[in-house]
């Protein structure tokens, strides 16, 4: 009897441990930037040492990757023009039958959709939301893109702001659903797919143009700042072979991005008292060469084609 009770107790303890991990649903770790901790002021605490110890837990670490909406937006802002021929054709969608290909192409189609909508391409927007829904449905992401979402999009097809809001809502639905189900690695793969598509669109638009003083090239260089976040997130998903496969591609890109050195100047902070908007004043420079740029563009092309063809 006692042994039985002990057995049940063990099950409950194991369940409790499992729940504590499942509920948090995010990474934990120690403070990573040891260098910054010297300069960074710690949070104040009026608590005594014992109480502080009681509440001391491992600090949780999150990484936010660029979303397809954000990627398309910064490209347009950099002077990108619209070229439908660089999008992933919707006819390709019938070939995406594995979870990995559907997740990657959900990200890819969502970036294409965002890009098209920013240029008021109404019919393309409608076509691409349908194909993004097909990918989300294939991944069993319930209600990420519902029929009512599509109807709302159709009803507001000439209102760019509402369309972007609908696209960002579908992304939020997908990522929150996957997080709820403990499938964060799938959410990461979707974002990596969208990010690679953004790089592909950007490098395609640059083509043979000079890279010096080119705003789109500057946006490409900016992506170096997010590569390490992707590597960290994908490395966490050790039990997901799909994530490990995508990790290899991101590491290939990281090798090239690591050849670019970005020098960041010191930030000074200035707040407009009327608008209450703060400006972080600083400058940055990089040492991108033509050789490294074309190496990067070629690798992006190779990886993107491996995802879409």
């Amino acid at each position: 009897m006692n042994n039985k009770l002990l057995g049940s107790g063990r099950i409950l303890i194991l369940l409790a441990i499992f729940i504590s991990f499942a509920v948090t649903g995010c990474k934990t770790g120690t403070k990573q930037d040891a260098n910054s901790s010297d300069a960074e002021e710690e949070f104040d605490s009026s608590l005594d040492e014992n109480t502080q110890k009681k509440f001391q837990t491992a600090k949780r670490i999150f990484y936010s990757l660029p979303s397809p909406v954000e990627t398309a937006r910064i490209l347009k802002q950099a002077g990108a023009t619209y070229h439908e021929d660089i999008l992933n054709p919707i006819d390709n969608s019938s070939g995406y039958i594995t979870n990995l290909s559907m997740a990657l192409n959900l990200g890819i189609y969502t970036t294409d959709l965002s890009y098209a909508s920013l240029f008021d391409q109404t019919q393309v927007t409608l076509n691409y939301i349908e194909v993004a829904k097909k990918m989300a449905d294939g991944l069993n992401i319930m209600d990420a893109i519902s029929e009512s979402t599509i109807q709302r999009l159709e009803d507001n097809i000439n209102n760019r702001s509402i369309i972007i809001d609908i696209i960002s809502e579908t992304l939020l639905n997908s990522s929150s659903y996957l997080s709820e189900k403990g499938l964060e690695s799938t959410a990461t793969i979707i974002l990596v797919g969208g990010w690679v598509e953004g790089l592909y669109i950007a490098t395609s638009l640059v083509g043979d143009d000079p890279i010096k003083d080119n705003d789109i090239v500057q946006r490409i260089v900016d992506q170096k700042l997010s590569v390490d976040f992707m590597v960290s997130l994908l490395e966490e998903a050790t039990d997901d072979p799909d994530a490990q496969s995508v990790l290899n591609d991101v590491k290939d890109l990281k090798v090239i991005f690591d050849k670019i050195k970005i020098t960041q100047g010191e930030n000074t902070v200035e707040t407009d008292p009327e608008t209450n908007v703060t400006t972080l004043k600083s400058s940055s420079s990089n040492n991108l060469t033509k050789k490294v740029y074309y190496e990067l563009a070629s690798k992006v092309n190779e990886i993107r084609n491996s995802y879409t063809l």
């Binding site: 369940l15 729940i19 109480t51 509440f55 670490i61 979303s67 960002s168 209450n276 908007v277």
Partner: protein, 147 residues
Amino acid sequence: MMRKGILLIFLVAFITGIPTSVNAQCKQFAKKTCKVGLNPYQHDGNYHAALLIEGEEAELYKTFYSDTEYRIGVCGAGNLNAIEFKIVDSNGKVLYNNKYQDYDWKWDFRLESSQQLKIVIKVPVSEDTMENPEEGCVAIMFGFQDE
């Protein structure tokens, strides 16, 4: 014996169902409360929310792009005290700390150069709940608009 087995199955089903239910509440909180507050900024579509206990700290790393105006929103559930947060650059310089702004839940800013920033958040400990610290959903959301 069979009754105990059924009871155990129900218990397991109930307990393992808790995370989904709690995460669903967190999702609704992020969508209905925090995202709405980003207006007129456009939400970027990303979801960052988790259950945190009073006294707990978290960090979020993100790349922010030049020539874009951002709103960072850090929202805590009603059972938690106002969330403390600060923004730190890659040199460790604290660029903003909401404790000097009456614990405002949001911060609007723009950058002259693209860079990684770190958002450090802490759920303050309430003296009333020191023995049984409260746990609640905390969401971090980002909105942007063209300058």
